[in-house]
């Protein structure tokens, strides 16, 4: 019972409710939207965002951020895409892609966890460097002519209209969530983000946890890059641009606090679906999908501001309640004083 209650109270539940309401509202405006294939399409499109957002969630849990995921994804997509185009084996391409992602994660971890540079700026710099490497590597050209089988695999469905990619991602998210909640080490990410100094004092491996978070983030963005390749079918030098904002917005929408220590990867996965749906929903509501980025930005700003406001208000309210509880009514003081004085006299 308690477990079900906890589940209902989880922050990710409100984002799930938001998703459902969003779909229903769009359905009211344009009933043509509410078909299984349209709704599945929203989920299927979200697969890359989900992977990147889940990785991003780890860096947010530890109270940091990684804005290099977009370029990371772009670089891995370009490398994997060109390897496959040139006839390299699938397995090798995937291994190379994941290793690149892990390396980028390590570089970010070195800057943030070892050198203690501010994570936003450090990863922004890494993002610039990686994007530069993509342009140099591809010579500014598109990576095209990917093997047909690789491209076609992205539309293979597993359950109903849901693709194999999306179903596999859901399983991955579920496993990660279980590891985070059920294992001792899983809790370390939140602990480090909640109070890094306190974590050190109770003997938690603070630095290792931070390094791990960045490596996970890098690897998830790399996997996102590989799937991106397969789904889109070609890679431009600008591929992955803006994915960092989508991923951060997805996490925040899913109830993850930018201050660290709060949230779940399930939340970020739900947020990713909302993010992926926006351009789709815009079309159904009769708007241009050009509004997509602006709307994503607005959602991010609104949530962050409301969150900050609520948090501040809660703190002030708690403080006032605590202070008010300390003040006694005048008569009470006199009575208490009398009583104590009398006790004193008797003893």
């Amino acid at each position: 019972m308690g477990r079900i209650k906890n589940l209902l109270h989880a922050r990710s539940m409100s984002s799930f409710a938001f998703l459902v309401i969003l779909f229903l509202v769009v359905g009211l405006i344009n009933p043509a939207f509410l078909t299984p294939s349209n709704i599945s399409a929203c989920f299927n499109t979200s697969v890359v965002y989900t992977l990147v957002a889940v990785g991003m969630a780890f860096t947010l849990f530890i109270g940091e951020i990684d804005v290099s995921v977009g370029a990371n994804l772009g670089l891995v997509a370009a490398v994997v895409g060109s390897m496959l185009r040139d006839g390299q084996s699938m397995g090798l391409a995937i291994i190379v892609g994941v290793v690149i992602g892990a390396m980028i994660g390590l570089i970010n971890a070195w800057g943030v966890a070892v050198m203690k540079a501010p994570s936003l700026i450090f990863t922004l710099g890494v993002n610039g460097v990686l994007r530069g490497i993509v342009y140099v590597y591809t010579n500014g050209a598109w990576v095209e002519n990917l093997p047909k089988g690789f491209k076609d695999f992205s539309s293979v469905t597993a359950v109903g209209d849901l693709t194999v990619y999306y179903c596999a991602t859901i399983v991955l998210v579920a496993v990660i969530q279980l590891l985070l909640v059920r294992t001792k080490r899983g809790r370390y990410f939140h602990a480090v983000g909640d109070n890094a100094q306190g974590a050190t004092l109770v003997g938690l491996p603070t630095r290792t946890t931070k390094i791990l978070a960045y490596v996970i983030c890098g690897v998830m963005a790399a996997i996102g890059g590989i799937i991106f390749c397969s789904r889109i079918g070609f890679v431009t030098p600008a591929s992955g641009n803006g994915y960092e904002m989508k991923a951060i917005a997805a996490c925040v929408l899913g109830g993850i606090s930018l201050l660290g220590g709060v949230g779940s990867v399930v939340g970020s996965a739900i947020g990713a679906v909302i993010m992926a749906s926006i351009s789709y929903l815009l079309v159904f509501m009769g708007f241009s999908s050009n509004y997509d980025n602006a709307i994503t930005g607005i959602i991010l700003i609104v949530i962050v501001v409301v969150d900050a406001l609520l948090q501040r208000r809660a703190i002030v309210k708690n403080r006032h309640a605590r202070l008010a509880a300390r003040v006694s009514s005048g008569t009470e003081v006199a009575a208490a004083a009398m009583e104590k004085a009398q006790e004193g006299g008797e003893a």
Binding site: K184, R187, Y188, H190, A191, D194, N195, Q197, G198, A199, T200, L201, V202, G203, L204, P205, S257, G261, V262, N318, R319, H320, R322, L323, A324, R326, V327, S328, G330, E332, V333, A336, A337, M338, K340, A341, G344, G345, A347
Partner: protein, 525 residues
């Protein structure tokens, strides 16, 4: 009557001391040296801690207590020297290693995970299974007789409760050595008593405790041995019963200072109460205090006593425009300042020196000069557009000279000053705005005895220039020493006012704990 009680308590503890004294050394540090850059913080510290000992560690700010503890906990590593645990030399390079050697430190500021539950906070970092941890937690809590809601979030706990969770964390690790860093500084009277009782329980179980404190009374109440740190060396060490209060004060003071130098003697100064009061507070209410009325006259130091949480700071910050006024009025020199913005309150002639000089008071990474004059930046005195750096220097130097602030130069970072010198800088800043009334909140908390004397002299000097001071202090001696008149707050109300001749610690303490009665003396005598 109360005195008799505590007398009995002390006797009981003395007996306990004798029967539990086992010469079995748990922890021994030998010849520890540590410097940060050119700053030598520890110069050859040697200390021993035996089973069932409570080693009271006292010393001024910057004496090296925290550095030493951080070395024992593996947060810093010593430049030289060795640490032995139960006779074996050990290498403690990180907190994890310290925990493995059964050493646990309860830090001065609780280090909880605010978004986790109490239970998660306590059991995190253990390798055992959940059910085993749960039963151990239950038994530990039963043993020390605490009840805490394990499922509530740590962010909802009071400071005292957070401290309890920290101690629970320590106990779960079956520590042999427990370090308590000023555990009572944020606690109320009752909480202090339950904490001290808990420490005694732990002592009976054979745990060695290092108890860092600023309150000398606690040394006698709970310590078995005492060590005084000053400027990185242990000046005094031995069994508590060998020392008197004066011995300890002497150990805290620099060798060239006499004990009397720490206090400034009687400061009798006739206040003309027929004048118009400079500050008039009437039926003033806000969050944390209610119906407060008092007057302050020109050139007067009014002490405001009370226990932590009595609403003194809240009242001061509300007058200063930091919080919402719920009723009543405050008049400064005939002008109504009720509910004004802080900026206006300052310009009308009232300033406030906060209790927490780190978070509310100072720009830590800026120099002394910039800090001193930062309150003047909006006035034309510091230049109309470009900063008048000559004036900045002149003003700052005048306060440094006047207050005898120890600085290497006006550009020294304030974060690197000792507590006393930081406090002098903040006070200097408050007075640089030429206020008529200054509210000082715990001006000497965490400051060593010598610097305290300096601060007192500064305050008296300022008073003599006609400034009125409202002195909020939990240190009753301080109020006795400085005040021309004293008010006492209890549960958000002013319950008592004492004239100069009535200001004695006994009266203040009784009123602060809500048990003062003008004729109570007659009853108890």
């Amino acid at each position: 009557m109360e005195a008799a009680d505590s007398q009995n308590g002390t006797v009981g503890r003395d007996e306990a001391r004798v029967s539990y004294q086992v010469p079995n050394t748990l922890l021994s540090v030998q010849n520890i040296y540590k410097s940060f850059g050119s700053n030598e913080v520890l110069k050859g510290i040697s200390l021993d801690l035996c089973e069932s000992q409570v080693l009271a560690l006292i010393g001024g700010n910057g004496a090296g207590k925290s550095t030493l503890m951080k070395i024992i906990m593996g947060i810093y590593s010593a430049d030289s020297g060795e640490i032995t645990i139960a006779g074996k030399k050990v290498d403690i390079s990180n907190p994890k290693a310290a925990l493995e050697h059964s050493i646990y430190m309860v830090p001065q500021e609780p280090m909880l995970f605010p978004n986790m539950t109490v239970r998660e906070n306590v059991v995190i970092g253990f390798d055992e299974g959940a059910s085993e941890l749960e039963s151990r937690l239950k038994s530990v809590m039963a043993e020390i007789g605490w009840s805490l809601d394990l499922d509530c979030k740590a962010s909802t706990l009071s400071i005292a409760e957070q401290g309890m969770v920290e101690i629970l964390r320590g106990l779960m690790r079956n520590p042999k050595v427990l370090i308590l860093d000023e555990p009572t500084s944020a606690l109320t009277f009752d909480e202090v008593q339950s904490l001290l009782a808990c420490v005694e329980e732990l002592q009976k179980k054979g745990i060695g405790i290092i108890y860092i404190t600023h309150r000398l009374s606690e040394v006698f109440e709970i310590g078995t041995t005492v060590a005084i740190l000053r400027d990185g060396i242990v000046t005094t060490q031995g069994n508590v019963f060998e020392f008197t209060r004066d011995d300890l004060v002497r150990g805290l003071l620099p060798e060239d200072a006499s004990v009397d130098g720490a206090t400034t003697g009687d400061s009798a100064c006739e206040i003309d109460y027929s004048q118009e009061p400079v500050l008039r507070v009437r039926d003033f209410s806000g969050y944390g205090f209610s119906d407060v009325s008092f007057d302050i006259y020109p050139g007067e130091i009014v002490g405001l006593a009370g226990v932590v949480g009595a609403g003194r700071t809240e009242m001061a910050t509300t007058i200063f425009g930091r919080d919402k006024v719920l009723g009543g009025s405050v008049t400064l020199n005939g002008q109504d300042i009720t509910g004004r913005k802080t900026r206006q309150v300052i310009s009308m002639g009232l300033n406030y020196v906060p209790e927490d000089r780190f978070n509310d008071g100072l720009y830590r990474i800026r120099g002394v000069a910039e800090n001193t004059t930062s309150a003047l930046l909006s006035s034309s005195r510091m230049g109309r557009f470009f900063l008048n750096s000559k004036e900045e220097e002149r003003v700052s130097q005048s306060y440094v000279d006047r207050f005898r602030t120890k600085v290497t130069g006006l550009d020294q970072e304030v974060g690197g000053l000792s507590g006393g010198n930081q406090q002098k800088t903040v006070i200097g800043r408050a007075f640089s705005t030429s206020p008529k009334v200054v509210i000082l909140d715990e001006p000497t908390r965490g400051i060593d005895a010598a610097a305290r004397g300096d601060v007192y002299a500064v305050l008296q000097e300022l008073r003599d220039t006609g400034v009125s001071i409202l002195l909020i202090s939990s240190d009753m001696e301080e109020i006795v020493e400085l005040s021309d008149r004293a008010l006492v707050m209890y549960q958000g109300r002013i319950v008592q006012e004492f004239g100069k001749d009535q200001i004695v610690q006994e009266n203040l303490t009784a009123a602060a704990f809500g048990v003062y009665q003008a004729d109570a003396k007659a009853v108890t005598d």
